[in-house]
Symmetry: C2
Subunit: 156 residues, 2 copies
């Protein structure tokens, strides 16, 4: 199939300069604030985004290491398939985080619950809609009982 080309639409600024400093997931560090800077040429696309309390960020894992299809994760020492985990090193380096939208100032969104590295290229923003995206009945799969912990050292 044909290659798909994408161009960043902005940059995510976060308090996390290194992989070690970034939380495993944004929801594990809901107080972590960041800003989403959308490039001026795309600012019009933000119209009415301030009516939403939560948004979905899609971004590039631009500093991800080597891709392995099966490997341990930050949450578990057992290996799991990369499509059964949120591991950053994956074919097509796209990350997804739901963040809280605190405020919009023109082309800049103040958000909390961010988990990405500072300077991460932004690919897309979508509104989070309970009717589409909220599934409290979902199983936790292999992650059941795997709690927030320190990132194992040396693990990508």
């Amino acid at each position: 199939m044909e290659e798909i080309k994408m161009t960043p639409i902005g940059i995510i600024h976060s308090p996390y300069a290194t992989k070690e400093a970034a939380p495993i997931q944004g929801s594990f560090c809901p107080e972590g604030k960041g800003t989403v800077e959308v490039f001026a040429e795309f600012e019009k696309g933000l119209e009415d985004i301030e009516t939403f309390s939560h948004i979905i960020l899609l971004y590039e894992f631009d500093r991800a290491g080597e891709i392995e299809l099966v490997r341990p994760t930050f949450l578990d020492d057992e290996p799991h398939g990369v499509f059964a985990s949120r591991h950053p090193c994956r074919p097509n380096s796209i990350g997804l985080t739901v963040v809280k939208l605190l405020k919009r100032k023109g082309n800049v969104l103040e958000v909390s619950g961010v988990d990405v590295l500072d300077g991460t290229p932004l690919i897309d923003i979508k509104p989070y809609l309970v009717r589409f995206d909220c599934h409290p009945e979902a199983s936790e799969g292999w992650a059941a009982g795997k709690e927030k912990r320190a990132k194992p050292t040396g693990r990508e």
Copy 2:
């Protein structure tokens, strides 16, 4: 910023051959079944995916029309910014749908709640985790009170 290149990891098969036939969102047609065919070279990455009841599909809106940053949507006749809607015609044509995982057969996943066109290129699969992705407190923004309806004719 640098261009990002992606390669499809599979194909989504759905009952929807045309844009008119596809539901506005998968959650509006939860009984709509489809199959997610992951190319053989990526099959190992599916290990343990069957432990999850819900998965997130990221895919290419490969038949999307012209991009407009502000436009009416299927749910509302008022225009909204493209990043404040799930409109398919957006900079970086990535779509996101949470589907129910019914069964895995090797490299093929049977799912329900699919809303994409038949033959849609698959970019990524992520497990849906309540702790990360479920936010029942989220506002509905401009979409509050906008109910499922027939797609307005002639609207992309």
